[in-house]
């Protein structure tokens, strides 16, 4: 187990380094940020001064070295556009993105597992078929378009929900949260639902497939033969066994939700990391782009590592095979 962890951590470090080189090299050949930052009628001397101030006059390897040593001490440069440290800007927006992602994941789990169970237990009922058709639709619908249509329906025509922003926030230990105020909740509902849609379909399908498979197993037949109530058979015997793949997928998909939040945040003007990166790409704000990518890569490497470890904890077969 220890060897496994060490190997995984080492591999993660290599991935991080490789990504940092790729990202940095790529960003360095991007268009000239000085042109974007400075007014068109600036003199050549002013341009040079800006270039030196931003450290762009040094050769690329030197810039990379400065970037890497900076990164290790948590400093990924100052944003050209905001004039503040890039990492701070991203960390500042992280809670908004996490709030959105967690809300979306909760919606997907709370609705997805019961619906999937229902569809798995009664695959030929009208409800079961409707659920499955809905989940196929959820897979095929372009998420961003659904977001626009939600705005159209709930904000423009019905006027029930606000179109953009986070609404009132409450500060808890220095972190601003929306879901604790009514206004914040109304702002959170639509983006979270939009982001949840795809994962909801996925969890419904997984749960349904797992349920159908589990129902054929001997332990379920035995539990029924013992005379256990239907709710106990489903709630304990079936659910427990189908949780392993579901937990894995939920873990892995959490990263996907954070990545896809970029789209949802853009639609609903949700002030998270995703909106920041899209805005920064538009003005070629290099430090922010690099910092965002590094933060995301670290996050993914950690998520993948945790899921791998969780998997071996949850599934005794994996654990025993390793020992």
């Amino acid at each position: 187990m220890l060897a496994f962890i060490i190997r995984r951590v080492l591999q993660s470090v290599v991935v991080l380094l490789a990504m940092s080189v790729i990202v940095f090299a790529g960003v360095s050949v991007l268009g000239d940020p000085v042109e974007v930052m400075i007014s068109p009628d600036a003199t050549q001397a002013e341009r040079e001064a800006t270039r030196v101030a931003m450290g762009l006059d040094k050769p690329v390897p030197v810039q990379y070295w400065r970037f890497l040593t900076g990164a290790l001490s948590g400093d990924l440069g100052k944003s050209f556009a905001y004039g503040a440290p890039a990492v701070d800007l991203i960390v500042e927006r992280m809670p908004a993105t996490f709030e959105l992602a967690i809300a979306a994941m909760l919606i997907a789990i709370v609705f997805g597992i019961p619906l999937g169970l229902w569809a798995g237990l009664r695959p030929n009922s009208v409800a079961g078929k409707t659920i499955m058709t809905g989940s196929i639709l959820g897979f095929s619908l372009p998420t961003f378009w659904v977001g626009l249509m939600m705005i159209m329906l709930f904000s423009v025509y019905l006027g029930w929900l606000p179109t953009s922003g986070r609404g009132d926030t409450v500060s808890v230990m220095g972190i601003r949260l929306s879901f604790l105020t009514l206004d914040g909740l109304t702002h959170l509902l639509m983006p979270a639902l939009n982001l949840a849609l795809f994962k909801l379909s996925l969890i419904i399908r997984l749960t349904r497939a797992g349920t159908q498979e589990a129902l054929l197993q001997d332990y379920v037949k035995f539990a029924r033969a013992k005379g256990l109530s239907a709710s106990r058979v489903v709630g304990v015997h079936v659910l427990k066994n189908i949780m392993i793949p579901i937990v894995t997928v939920i873990g892995l998909e959490f990263g996907g939700v954070i990545a896809f939040a970029i789209v949802t945040e853009t639609i609903f003007a949700w002030p998270g990391m995703g909106k920041l990166i899209i805005d920064s790409i538009a003005v070629l704000d290099r430090p922010i782009i690099v910092a965002y990518l590094m933060v995301i890569v670290i996050m993914f490497v950690v998520i993948n590592l945790v899921v791998d470890l969780l998997y071996s904890v949850l599934d005794p077969r994996v654990r025993l095979a390793n020992e």
């Binding site: 790529g26 897979f139 095929s140 159209m152 423009v156 996907g256 990545a259 789209v263 899209i278 538009a282």
Partner: protein, 324 residues
């Protein structure tokens, strides 16, 4: 020769021509014994009515896209034909020179139906092109890994694994942030995102196939490795690849639309469905829904049709389901 390619059973080039028919696994009734595998698959495909409906819709959409200049009521990118007075007309209204805007017009007085037909062209074109290129690359790399094995395999599959642990949208976003938006760059980004799926699928199939007797026989005959890989191994690895490719076209189209919506995809001069939706976003809040709504419907229909066809293909081409 073409029917050989889709053969579900290991019918190597040098094995008996009517190979699969004698095997008990096929379970095909005696009457279809004279059919080529392609005909058999097609007949099986047609047993699902909804899949046929999907196929018909898909063919229609492709024809629309292909013949856009002849089908569309208006050339949406001929600026001299556009009149700003016609902008944001509701569906069903007429333009100044008598053209009926069936699906309304956009902010520049462009007929939405025409814009959608042209957008379909870009969307399907980008989706299909990127899928084919990614398929070619992934297939070659996967075959290499599966057939050669050893270190080459370890390195290739490691890279694919790592890449697949990141969501596609994130990788495409990174690449487009680096490459700048543009038609060829979006294809490059989509290829970079997709190749690993094909590499993995091909390798999986190649690992199973390379242990079979027909490969051994081909080796015994002293055929060159290249010939063995491309003439014997590859045709038998194709069925799962076709299924993956069909599903991937849909996701490539959806991904392109999303990236274009974010302003990172196709250029403004060649708008795909995603960019059309994005263009209508700002009019949405004032209740002018049609500029975003109809391109989205077109996108949805395209994706659903492809998914229906791909799902059926998976059932038809899956050898494990053939016994039923």
């Amino acid at each position: 020769m073409k029917d050989k390619v889709i053969a579900p059973l290991p019918a190597g080039q040098d094995s008996a021509r009517d190979g699969g028919a004698d095997l008990p696994r096929t379970g095909a009734p005696a009457t279809v014994r004279e059919q080529t595998p392609l005909q058999r698959h097609f007949a099986e495909f047609c047993e699902s009515r909804i899949a046929v409906a999907g196929l018909v819709v898909l063919v229609l959409l492709c024809l629309l896209a292909l013949f856009a200049p002849w089908v569309a009521p208006q050339d949406p990118y001929d600026l001299s034909r556009l009149d700003i007075m016609d902008s944001r007309m509701e569906p069903g209204k007429q333009s100044m020179d008598g053209l009926t805007f069936v699906l309304g017009s956009d902010g520049q007085g462009r007929d939405m139906l025409s814009a959608i037909i042209y957008g379909l062209r870009i969307s399907i074109g980008v989706g299909v092109a990127s899928t084919l290129i990614a398929l070619a690359i992934g297939m070659t790399v996967g075959l290499l890994a599966g057939y050669v094995g050893g270190r080459t395999e370890a390195v290739i599959m490691r890279i694919a694994d790592i890449q697949l642990s990141f969501p596609a949208i994130l990788l495409a976003l990174i690449l487009l942030a680096l490459l700048r938006p543009g038609l060829s760059n979006i294809v490059i980004a989509l290829v970079a995102v997709q190749w690993a799926y094909y590499a993995r699928t091909t390798r999986g199939a190649a690992l199973v196939e390379r242990r079979k007797e027909y490969i051994e026989a081909a080796r015994g005959l002293g055929l060159s490795p290249l010939r063995i890989v491309f003439r014997h191994l590859l045709p038998n690895c194709l069925p799962p690849l076709i299924v993956v490719a069909a599903l991937q076209v849909a996701s490539a189209i959806a991904l392109e639309a999303t990236l274009s919506f974010l302003g990172l995809g196709v250029p403004v001069t060649e708008p795909s469905l995603g960019l059309l939706i994005s263009n209508g976003f700002r009019y949405l809040l004032s209740g002018q829904y049609w500029i975003s709504f109809f391109p989205g419907v077109a996108l949805l229909i395209t994706i659903v049709a492809i998914n229906l066809v791909a799902d059926r293909l998976r059932d038809v081409l899956n050898p494990r389901l053939q016994t039923h």
